[in-house]
Protein backbone atom coordinates (compact mmCIF):
# COMPACT_ATOMS: atom_id res chain seq x y z
CA UNK A 1 0.00 0.00 0.00
CA UNK A 2 1.45 3.34 -1.12
CA UNK A 3 1.24 6.68 0.64
CA UNK A 4 -2.16 8.16 1.35
CA UNK A 5 -3.48 10.41 -1.40
CA UNK A 6 -6.49 11.44 0.63
CA UNK A 7 -6.77 11.24 4.38
CA UNK A 8 -9.91 12.01 6.35
CA UNK A 9 -9.53 12.71 10.05
CA UNK A 10 -12.36 13.21 12.52
CA UNK A 11 -14.59 14.65 9.82
CA UNK A 12 -17.98 15.96 10.94
CA UNK A 13 -20.78 17.68 9.05
CA UNK A 14 -24.02 18.95 10.53
CA UNK A 15 -27.02 20.70 9.00
CA UNK A 16 -28.74 22.45 11.88
CA UNK A 17 -29.41 19.74 14.46
CA UNK A 18 -28.84 16.83 12.11
CA UNK A 19 -25.35 15.35 12.27
CA UNK A 20 -24.81 13.74 8.89
CA UNK A 21 -21.14 12.95 9.42
CA UNK A 22 -19.67 12.38 12.86
CA UNK A 23 -16.05 11.50 13.27
CA UNK A 24 -15.17 9.88 9.96
CA UNK A 25 -11.62 8.53 9.63
CA UNK A 26 -10.33 7.12 6.37
CA UNK A 27 -7.24 6.82 4.25
CA UNK A 28 -7.31 6.46 0.47
CA UNK A 29 -3.97 5.14 -0.79
CA UNK A 30 -2.38 6.70 -3.86
CA UNK A 31 -3.27 4.92 -7.08
CA UNK A 32 -5.86 2.60 -5.53
CA UNK A 33 -9.61 2.30 -5.81
CA UNK A 34 -11.29 2.63 -2.43
CA UNK A 35 -14.94 1.59 -2.35
CA UNK A 36 -17.12 3.30 0.24
CA UNK A 37 -19.98 1.03 1.27
CA UNK A 38 -22.70 1.13 3.87
CA UNK A 39 -26.45 1.36 4.32
CA UNK A 40 -28.27 4.31 2.77
CA UNK A 41 -28.11 7.34 5.01
CA UNK A 42 -24.66 6.33 6.23
CA UNK A 43 -23.17 9.53 4.83
CA UNK A 44 -21.25 8.06 1.88
CA UNK A 45 -22.16 10.77 -0.63
CA UNK A 46 -21.73 13.45 2.00
CA UNK A 47 -18.21 12.17 2.63
CA UNK A 48 -17.34 12.55 -1.05
CA UNK A 49 -18.78 16.05 -1.15
CA UNK A 50 -16.81 17.00 1.96
CA UNK A 51 -13.60 15.73 0.36
CA UNK A 52 -13.78 18.18 -2.55
CA UNK A 53 -15.55 20.77 -0.38
CA UNK A 54 -18.83 20.99 -2.17
CA UNK A 55 -19.92 21.21 1.44
CA UNK A 56 -18.02 22.73 4.33
CA UNK A 57 -17.17 20.23 7.07
CA UNK A 58 -18.10 21.44 10.53
CA UNK A 59 -15.17 19.67 12.15
CA UNK A 60 -12.13 17.57 11.32
CA UNK A 61 -9.75 17.70 8.40
CA UNK A 62 -9.30 16.30 4.92
CA UNK A 63 -5.73 16.04 3.70
CA UNK A 64 -4.67 15.87 0.08
CA UNK A 65 -1.08 14.67 -0.22
CA UNK A 66 -0.72 15.48 3.47
CA UNK A 67 -1.87 19.07 3.03
CA UNK A 68 -5.07 20.19 4.79
CA UNK A 69 -7.64 21.03 2.10
CA UNK A 70 -8.89 23.94 4.20
CA UNK A 71 -5.76 25.80 3.14
CA UNK A 72 -6.49 25.23 -0.56
CA UNK A 73 -8.67 27.36 -2.80
CA UNK A 74 -11.86 25.29 -3.18
CA UNK A 75 -11.90 25.76 -6.96
CA UNK A 76 -8.31 24.56 -7.22
CA UNK A 77 -9.10 21.60 -4.95
CA UNK A 78 -12.05 20.59 -7.13
CA UNK A 79 -9.88 20.68 -10.23
CA UNK A 80 -7.37 18.40 -8.54
CA UNK A 81 -10.02 16.06 -7.16
CA UNK A 82 -12.64 15.41 -9.84
CA UNK A 83 -16.11 14.12 -9.20
CA UNK A 84 -18.60 11.99 -11.10
CA UNK A 85 -22.21 11.98 -9.90
CA UNK A 86 -25.04 9.46 -10.03
CA UNK A 87 -26.79 11.42 -12.74
CA UNK A 88 -24.67 12.86 -15.54
CA UNK A 89 -25.63 16.54 -15.86
CA UNK A 90 -23.95 17.61 -19.08
CA UNK A 91 -23.65 21.22 -20.21
CA UNK A 92 -23.57 22.71 -23.66
CA UNK A 93 -25.05 22.03 -27.05
CA UNK A 94 -22.60 19.31 -28.04
CA UNK A 95 -20.71 16.44 -26.46
CA UNK A 96 -17.49 18.30 -27.24
CA UNK A 97 -18.66 21.36 -25.29
CA UNK A 98 -19.78 19.11 -22.45
CA UNK A 99 -16.36 17.47 -22.26
CA UNK A 100 -14.55 20.81 -22.34
CA UNK A 101 -16.77 22.64 -19.82
CA UNK A 102 -14.42 22.54 -16.83
CA UNK A 103 -11.22 22.69 -18.86
CA UNK A 104 -12.36 25.88 -20.60
CA UNK A 105 -13.23 27.52 -17.29
CA UNK A 106 -9.72 26.97 -16.04
CA UNK A 107 -8.06 27.80 -19.35
CA UNK A 108 -6.71 24.29 -19.79
CA UNK A 109 -6.02 22.84 -23.21
CA UNK A 110 -7.83 19.59 -23.74
CA UNK A 111 -8.47 17.42 -26.77
CA UNK A 112 -12.11 16.32 -26.68
CA UNK A 113 -11.59 13.48 -29.15
CA UNK A 114 -8.70 12.02 -27.20
CA UNK A 115 -10.76 12.30 -23.99
CA UNK A 116 -13.71 10.55 -25.62
CA UNK A 117 -11.33 7.81 -26.69
CA UNK A 118 -10.07 7.47 -23.13
CA UNK A 119 -13.58 6.69 -21.91
CA UNK A 120 -14.23 4.30 -24.78
CA UNK A 121 -16.47 6.54 -26.85
CA UNK A 122 -16.14 7.12 -30.55
CA UNK A 123 -14.73 10.53 -31.48
CA UNK A 124 -17.59 10.97 -33.95
CA UNK A 125 -19.90 11.53 -30.99
CA UNK A 126 -18.23 14.90 -30.35
CA UNK A 127 -20.71 16.80 -32.48
CA UNK A 128 -23.81 15.08 -31.11
CA UNK A 129 -26.15 16.71 -28.69
CA UNK A 130 -25.47 15.35 -25.19
CA UNK A 131 -29.15 14.51 -24.69
CA UNK A 132 -29.13 12.25 -27.74
CA UNK A 133 -26.68 9.84 -26.09
CA UNK A 134 -27.73 6.91 -23.94
CA UNK A 135 -27.45 7.46 -20.20
CA UNK A 136 -24.48 5.09 -20.09
CA UNK A 137 -22.71 7.09 -22.80
CA UNK A 138 -23.58 10.32 -21.01
CA UNK A 139 -22.05 8.97 -17.83
CA UNK A 140 -18.85 8.20 -19.72
CA UNK A 141 -18.89 11.76 -21.11
CA UNK A 142 -19.14 12.99 -17.53
CA UNK A 143 -16.04 10.91 -16.68
CA UNK A 144 -14.31 12.42 -19.72
CA UNK A 145 -15.08 15.99 -18.64
CA UNK A 146 -13.65 15.23 -15.20
CA UNK A 147 -10.51 13.79 -16.85
CA UNK A 148 -10.19 16.93 -18.98
CA UNK A 149 -8.97 18.72 -15.86
CA UNK A 150 -6.23 16.10 -15.43
CA UNK A 151 -7.23 15.40 -11.83
CA UNK A 152 -5.02 13.59 -9.33
CA UNK A 153 -7.97 11.75 -7.86
CA UNK A 154 -11.51 10.98 -8.87
CA UNK A 155 -14.55 10.71 -6.60
CA UNK A 156 -17.36 8.59 -8.02
CA UNK A 157 -20.76 8.79 -6.32
CA UNK A 158 -22.69 5.66 -7.33
CA UNK A 159 -21.94 6.39 -10.98
CA UNK A 160 -23.63 3.21 -12.20
CA UNK A 161 -26.83 3.31 -10.19
CA UNK A 162 -28.81 4.93 -13.01
CA UNK A 163 -27.45 2.53 -15.65
CA UNK A 164 -28.60 -0.79 -17.04
CA UNK A 165 -26.51 -3.92 -16.59
CA UNK A 166 -24.47 -3.60 -19.79
CA UNK A 167 -23.71 0.08 -19.30
CA UNK A 168 -22.82 -0.63 -15.68
CA UNK A 169 -20.23 -3.19 -16.75
CA UNK A 170 -18.79 -0.71 -19.24
CA UNK A 171 -18.34 1.94 -16.58
CA UNK A 172 -16.80 -0.59 -14.20
CA UNK A 173 -14.28 -1.63 -16.85
CA UNK A 174 -13.60 2.02 -17.59
CA UNK A 175 -12.89 2.72 -13.92
CA UNK A 176 -10.46 -0.21 -13.67
CA UNK A 177 -8.86 0.75 -16.95
CA UNK A 178 -8.34 4.42 -15.96
CA UNK A 179 -6.96 3.35 -12.63
CA UNK A 180 -4.50 1.02 -14.29
CA UNK A 181 -3.47 3.35 -17.11
CA UNK A 182 -3.32 6.68 -15.28
CA UNK A 183 -2.65 5.45 -11.75
CA UNK A 184 -5.59 7.61 -10.75
CA UNK A 185 -6.61 7.41 -7.10
CA UNK A 186 -10.33 6.73 -6.91
CA UNK A 187 -13.01 6.76 -4.25
CA UNK A 188 -16.06 4.88 -5.39
CA UNK A 189 -19.37 4.90 -3.51
CA UNK A 190 -21.36 1.77 -4.19
CA UNK A 191 -24.28 -0.11 -2.67
CA UNK A 192 -23.56 -3.21 -4.74
CA UNK A 193 -21.11 -5.61 -3.10
CA UNK A 194 -20.58 -7.68 -6.23
CA UNK A 195 -19.55 -4.50 -7.99
CA UNK A 196 -17.20 -3.66 -5.12
CA UNK A 197 -15.63 -7.10 -5.50
CA UNK A 198 -15.09 -6.47 -9.22
CA UNK A 199 -13.43 -3.06 -8.99
CA UNK A 200 -12.17 -2.13 -5.52
CA UNK A 201 -8.68 -2.48 -4.08
CA UNK A 202 -9.88 -1.43 -0.65
CA UNK A 203 -13.23 -1.27 1.10
CA UNK A 204 -14.31 1.30 3.65
CA UNK A 205 -17.51 0.71 5.60
CA UNK A 206 -19.66 3.55 6.91
CA UNK A 207 -22.75 3.50 9.11
CA UNK A 208 -24.75 6.31 10.67
CA UNK A 209 -22.25 8.99 9.72
CA UNK A 210 -19.24 7.13 11.10
CA UNK A 211 -16.45 5.12 9.57
CA UNK A 212 -16.71 1.57 10.85
CA UNK A 213 -13.73 -0.16 9.29
CA UNK A 214 -11.33 -0.54 6.36
CA UNK A 215 -10.21 -3.71 4.65
CA UNK A 216 -8.25 -4.78 1.62
CA UNK A 217 -10.59 -6.34 -0.95
CA UNK A 218 -9.17 -9.79 -0.20
CA UNK A 219 -9.81 -9.43 3.51
CA UNK A 220 -13.24 -7.92 3.05
CA UNK A 221 -14.37 -10.79 0.84
CA UNK A 222 -12.79 -13.47 3.02
CA UNK A 223 -13.72 -14.64 6.49
CA UNK A 224 -12.30 -11.43 7.99
CA UNK A 225 -14.99 -9.28 6.38
CA UNK A 226 -17.81 -11.70 6.91
CA UNK A 227 -19.50 -9.71 9.67
CA UNK A 228 -19.20 -6.48 7.75
CA UNK A 229 -20.75 -8.07 4.69
CA UNK A 230 -23.56 -9.56 6.75
CA UNK A 231 -24.13 -6.13 8.32
CA UNK A 232 -24.49 -4.47 4.92
CA UNK A 233 -26.67 -7.23 3.52
CA UNK A 234 -28.95 -7.03 6.55
CA UNK A 235 -29.35 -3.32 6.17
CA UNK A 236 -29.75 -3.12 2.38
Amino acid sequence: MGSLKIEVSGLGYAVGEAEILKAVYAGMPEGEITAVVGPSGAGKSTLLRAINRLIEPSSGEVYLDGEPTRSLDPLELRRRVGMVFQIPALFGGSVEEAVLYGARLSGKDADPRRLLGMVGLDASLAEREPGSLSVGQQQRVSVARALALEPEALLLDEPTSALDEAARRHVEELVRDLNARLGLTMVFVSHDLSQVERIADRVMLMAEGKSVGEWSREDFFSAAGERARRFIAGRL
Binding site: L54, E56, F85, I87, A89, F91, L105, S142, A146
Partner: protein, 258 residues
Protein backbone atom coordinates in the same frame (compact mmCIF):
# COMPACT_ATOMS: atom_id res chain seq x y z
CA UNK B 1 -69.49 64.32 -3.74
CA UNK B 2 -69.49 64.02 -7.52
CA UNK B 3 -65.86 62.77 -7.28
CA UNK B 4 -66.79 59.82 -5.14
CA UNK B 5 -69.73 59.07 -7.42
CA UNK B 6 -67.28 58.74 -10.32
CA UNK B 7 -65.10 56.38 -8.37
CA UNK B 8 -68.04 54.29 -7.27
CA UNK B 9 -69.24 53.88 -10.84
CA UNK B 10 -65.89 52.26 -11.52
CA UNK B 11 -66.93 49.56 -9.12
CA UNK B 12 -69.40 48.26 -11.70
CA UNK B 13 -66.42 46.69 -13.46
CA UNK B 14 -66.27 44.36 -10.48
CA UNK B 15 -68.61 42.14 -12.49
CA UNK B 16 -65.57 41.12 -14.50
CA UNK B 17 -63.65 40.31 -11.36
CA UNK B 18 -66.55 38.06 -10.37
CA UNK B 19 -65.90 36.11 -13.55
CA UNK B 20 -62.26 35.70 -12.56
CA UNK B 21 -63.26 34.54 -9.10
CA UNK B 22 -65.77 32.09 -10.57
CA UNK B 23 -63.04 30.73 -12.85
CA UNK B 24 -60.64 30.40 -9.98
CA UNK B 25 -63.23 28.49 -7.99
CA UNK B 26 -64.19 26.31 -10.93
CA UNK B 27 -60.59 25.46 -11.82
CA UNK B 28 -59.60 25.25 -8.14
CA UNK B 29 -56.80 27.72 -8.69
CA UNK B 30 -57.10 28.73 -5.06
CA UNK B 31 -56.65 32.33 -6.10
CA UNK B 32 -60.01 33.79 -5.06
CA UNK B 33 -58.72 35.07 -1.74
CA UNK B 34 -55.77 36.67 -3.50
CA UNK B 35 -58.08 38.24 -6.08
CA UNK B 36 -60.33 39.57 -3.32
CA UNK B 37 -57.41 41.08 -1.45
CA UNK B 38 -56.10 42.57 -4.70
CA UNK B 39 -59.47 44.14 -5.50
CA UNK B 40 -59.95 45.68 -2.07
CA UNK B 41 -56.38 46.83 -1.77
CA UNK B 42 -56.22 48.37 -5.24
CA UNK B 43 -59.44 50.29 -4.52
CA UNK B 44 -58.29 51.61 -1.16
CA UNK B 45 -54.77 52.34 -2.35
CA UNK B 46 -55.83 54.10 -5.56
CA UNK B 47 -58.46 56.16 -3.77
CA UNK B 48 -55.92 57.15 -1.14
CA UNK B 49 -53.18 57.93 -3.65
CA UNK B 50 -55.70 60.03 -5.60
CA UNK B 51 -56.09 62.31 -2.62
CA UNK B 52 -52.37 62.27 -1.89
CA UNK B 53 -51.48 63.13 -5.48
CA UNK B 54 -54.10 65.85 -5.53
CA UNK B 55 -52.46 67.25 -2.42
CA UNK B 56 -48.92 66.99 -3.77
CA UNK B 57 -49.80 68.45 -7.16
CA UNK B 58 -51.10 71.36 -5.18
CA UNK B 59 -47.77 71.69 -3.39
CA UNK B 60 -45.57 71.56 -6.50
CA UNK B 61 -42.78 70.77 -4.05
CA UNK B 62 -40.03 68.53 -5.42
CA UNK B 63 -38.90 67.46 -1.95
CA UNK B 64 -42.33 66.02 -1.28
CA UNK B 65 -42.24 64.29 -4.67
CA UNK B 66 -38.92 62.67 -3.79
CA UNK B 67 -40.26 61.51 -0.43
CA UNK B 68 -43.33 60.00 -2.06
CA UNK B 69 -41.26 58.21 -4.71
CA UNK B 70 -38.93 56.97 -2.00
CA UNK B 71 -41.88 55.58 -0.08
CA UNK B 72 -43.11 53.88 -3.25
CA UNK B 73 -39.71 52.24 -3.74
CA UNK B 74 -39.70 50.88 -0.19
CA UNK B 75 -43.24 49.59 -0.54
CA UNK B 76 -42.34 47.95 -3.86
CA UNK B 77 -39.29 46.32 -2.27
CA UNK B 78 -41.43 45.03 0.58
CA UNK B 79 -43.98 43.56 -1.82
CA UNK B 80 -41.29 41.96 -3.94
CA UNK B 81 -39.51 40.54 -0.90
CA UNK B 82 -42.75 38.97 0.30
CA UNK B 83 -43.29 37.38 -3.09
CA UNK B 84 -39.74 36.03 -3.01
CA UNK B 85 -40.03 34.79 0.55
CA UNK B 86 -37.07 32.64 1.61
CA UNK B 87 -34.70 34.40 -0.75
CA UNK B 88 -32.15 35.73 1.72
CA UNK B 89 -31.88 39.54 1.82
CA UNK B 90 -34.74 39.84 -0.69
CA UNK B 91 -35.85 43.22 0.66
CA UNK B 92 -32.48 44.95 0.33
CA UNK B 93 -31.88 43.39 -3.07
CA UNK B 94 -35.26 44.58 -4.36
CA UNK B 95 -34.89 48.02 -2.76
CA UNK B 96 -31.50 48.60 -4.39
CA UNK B 97 -32.67 47.29 -7.78
CA UNK B 98 -35.95 49.23 -7.89
CA UNK B 99 -34.35 52.34 -6.40
CA UNK B 100 -31.47 52.43 -8.86
CA UNK B 101 -33.84 51.75 -11.77
CA UNK B 102 -36.10 54.63 -10.71
CA UNK B 103 -33.29 57.11 -10.07
CA UNK B 104 -31.49 56.23 -13.30
CA UNK B 105 -34.50 56.49 -15.61
CA UNK B 106 -36.23 59.46 -13.98
CA UNK B 107 -32.87 61.18 -13.63
CA UNK B 108 -32.20 60.74 -17.33
CA UNK B 109 -35.62 62.04 -18.30
CA UNK B 110 -35.07 65.12 -16.16
CA UNK B 111 -31.47 65.74 -17.23
CA UNK B 112 -32.37 65.53 -20.91
CA UNK B 113 -35.40 67.74 -20.20
CA UNK B 114 -37.72 65.21 -21.77
CA UNK B 115 -40.25 65.84 -19.04
CA UNK B 116 -40.52 68.91 -16.84
CA UNK B 117 -39.56 68.56 -13.16
CA UNK B 118 -43.09 68.69 -11.83
CA UNK B 119 -45.08 66.36 -9.65
CA UNK B 120 -47.66 65.99 -12.42
CA UNK B 121 -45.08 64.09 -14.52
CA UNK B 122 -42.74 62.61 -11.96
CA UNK B 123 -45.29 60.84 -9.77
CA UNK B 124 -47.15 58.89 -12.48
CA UNK B 125 -43.98 58.12 -14.44
CA UNK B 126 -42.17 57.16 -11.24
CA UNK B 127 -45.08 54.95 -10.29
CA UNK B 128 -44.85 53.10 -13.59
CA UNK B 129 -41.09 52.70 -13.35
CA UNK B 130 -41.27 51.48 -9.78
CA UNK B 131 -44.22 49.16 -10.39
CA UNK B 132 -42.68 47.51 -13.44
CA UNK B 133 -39.27 47.23 -11.81
CA UNK B 134 -40.92 45.63 -8.82
CA UNK B 135 -42.53 42.98 -11.01
CA UNK B 136 -39.22 42.34 -12.71
CA UNK B 137 -37.51 42.05 -9.33
CA UNK B 138 -40.08 39.56 -8.02
CA UNK B 139 -39.99 37.48 -11.20
CA UNK B 140 -36.23 37.37 -11.31
CA UNK B 141 -35.81 36.46 -7.66
CA UNK B 142 -38.46 33.74 -7.59
CA UNK B 143 -37.20 32.28 -10.83
CA UNK B 144 -33.62 32.09 -9.58
CA UNK B 145 -34.80 30.58 -6.29
CA UNK B 146 -36.89 27.92 -8.02
CA UNK B 147 -34.28 27.08 -10.64
CA UNK B 148 -31.46 26.78 -8.13
CA UNK B 149 -33.60 24.35 -6.12
CA UNK B 150 -34.66 22.41 -9.20
CA UNK B 151 -31.26 22.31 -10.87
CA UNK B 152 -29.15 21.55 -7.81
CA UNK B 153 -27.55 18.63 -9.62
CA UNK B 154 -26.40 20.77 -12.52
CA UNK B 155 -25.19 23.56 -10.32
CA UNK B 156 -23.17 21.16 -8.17
CA UNK B 157 -21.80 19.37 -11.21
CA UNK B 158 -20.52 22.72 -12.49
CA UNK B 159 -19.02 23.61 -9.11
CA UNK B 160 -17.34 20.20 -8.99
CA UNK B 161 -15.66 21.06 -12.30
CA UNK B 162 -14.08 24.14 -10.79
CA UNK B 163 -16.76 26.65 -11.77
CA UNK B 164 -17.29 29.69 -9.55
CA UNK B 165 -20.76 30.29 -8.11
CA UNK B 166 -21.32 32.91 -10.79
CA UNK B 167 -20.30 30.53 -13.58
CA UNK B 168 -22.34 27.68 -12.15
CA UNK B 169 -25.47 29.80 -11.89
CA UNK B 170 -24.99 31.61 -15.23
CA UNK B 171 -27.55 29.57 -17.23
CA UNK B 172 -30.11 30.07 -14.48
CA UNK B 173 -29.47 33.81 -14.38
CA UNK B 174 -29.81 33.99 -18.13
CA UNK B 175 -33.21 32.29 -18.11
CA UNK B 176 -34.42 34.37 -15.18
CA UNK B 177 -33.49 37.63 -16.88
CA UNK B 178 -35.03 36.53 -20.16
CA UNK B 179 -38.25 35.60 -18.39
CA UNK B 180 -38.36 38.94 -16.65
CA UNK B 181 -37.65 41.01 -19.76
CA UNK B 182 -39.46 39.18 -22.55
CA UNK B 183 -43.02 40.20 -21.58
CA UNK B 184 -42.12 43.87 -21.66
CA UNK B 185 -40.10 43.54 -24.86
CA UNK B 186 -43.04 41.80 -26.52
CA UNK B 187 -45.47 44.39 -25.19
CA UNK B 188 -43.23 47.12 -26.59
CA UNK B 189 -43.00 45.37 -29.96
CA UNK B 190 -46.73 44.99 -30.35
CA UNK B 191 -47.74 48.26 -28.81
CA UNK B 192 -50.18 50.21 -30.94
CA UNK B 193 -51.13 47.06 -32.85
CA UNK B 194 -52.34 44.59 -30.29
CA UNK B 195 -52.86 46.82 -27.34
CA UNK B 196 -52.99 50.52 -26.67
CA UNK B 197 -51.05 51.43 -23.56
CA UNK B 198 -53.14 52.48 -20.58
CA UNK B 199 -51.55 55.84 -20.07
CA UNK B 200 -52.10 56.83 -23.69
CA UNK B 201 -55.68 55.62 -23.64
CA UNK B 202 -56.22 57.61 -20.47
CA UNK B 203 -54.81 60.77 -21.98
CA UNK B 204 -56.83 60.44 -25.15
CA UNK B 205 -60.02 59.74 -23.22
CA UNK B 206 -59.25 62.73 -21.05
CA UNK B 207 -59.12 64.84 -24.21
CA UNK B 208 -55.39 65.25 -24.82
CA UNK B 209 -53.91 65.68 -28.29
CA UNK B 210 -53.30 62.12 -29.58
CA UNK B 211 -49.82 63.05 -30.85
CA UNK B 212 -48.83 64.44 -27.48
CA UNK B 213 -50.21 61.26 -25.93
CA UNK B 214 -48.07 59.22 -28.33
CA UNK B 215 -44.96 61.24 -27.55
CA UNK B 216 -45.41 60.63 -23.86
CA UNK B 217 -46.19 56.97 -24.44
CA UNK B 218 -42.96 56.47 -26.35
CA UNK B 219 -41.09 58.07 -23.48
CA UNK B 220 -42.90 55.74 -21.09
CA UNK B 221 -42.13 52.59 -23.09
CA UNK B 222 -38.43 53.31 -23.46
CA UNK B 223 -38.23 54.36 -19.85
CA UNK B 224 -39.87 51.11 -18.76
CA UNK B 225 -37.61 48.99 -20.95
CA UNK B 226 -34.61 50.70 -19.46
CA UNK B 227 -35.72 50.55 -15.86
CA UNK B 228 -36.98 46.97 -15.97
CA UNK B 229 -33.71 45.83 -17.53
CA UNK B 230 -31.71 47.66 -14.89
CA UNK B 231 -33.84 46.22 -12.07
CA UNK B 232 -33.75 42.64 -13.39
CA UNK B 233 -30.01 42.67 -14.01
CA UNK B 234 -29.30 44.17 -10.60
CA UNK B 235 -31.55 41.65 -8.88
CA UNK B 236 -29.86 38.82 -10.74
CA UNK B 237 -26.38 40.03 -9.88
CA UNK B 238 -27.19 40.71 -6.23
CA UNK B 239 -29.44 37.79 -5.34
CA UNK B 240 -27.66 34.74 -6.73
CA UNK B 241 -24.94 35.12 -4.09
CA UNK B 242 -27.46 34.38 -1.38
CA UNK B 243 -27.63 30.79 -2.54
CA UNK B 244 -23.90 30.17 -2.25
CA UNK B 245 -21.24 30.40 0.41
CA UNK B 246 -18.14 32.48 -0.30
CA UNK B 247 -16.35 29.16 -0.89
CA UNK B 248 -18.50 28.44 -3.93
CA UNK B 249 -20.67 25.91 -2.14
CA UNK B 250 -24.38 25.65 -2.71
CA UNK B 251 -26.11 26.38 0.58
CA UNK B 252 -27.78 23.27 1.91
CA UNK B 253 -31.07 24.95 2.76
CA UNK B 254 -31.20 28.19 0.81
CA UNK B 255 -34.47 29.15 2.45
CA UNK B 256 -33.13 28.83 5.99
CA UNK B 257 -30.18 31.12 5.67
CA UNK B 258 -30.59 34.82 6.20
Amino acid sequence: MAGLQTVLSALLTLGLVAVAVALSLYERLDLEKDIGVAVVRSFVQLAAIGYVIDFIFGLENLGAVAVLLGGMVLFAAWTSARRAADVPRAFSVAAVAVGVAAVATLGLLLTLRIVPPTARYLIPLGGMVIGNSMNAASLTMTRIRDDVAEQRLKVEAALALGATSRQAVAPILRTALQRALIPLIDATKTTGIIFLPGAMVGMIIAGADPLEAVRLQIVVLYMLLGSVSIAAILVGTLSYRSFFTPRHQLRTMPQNKS
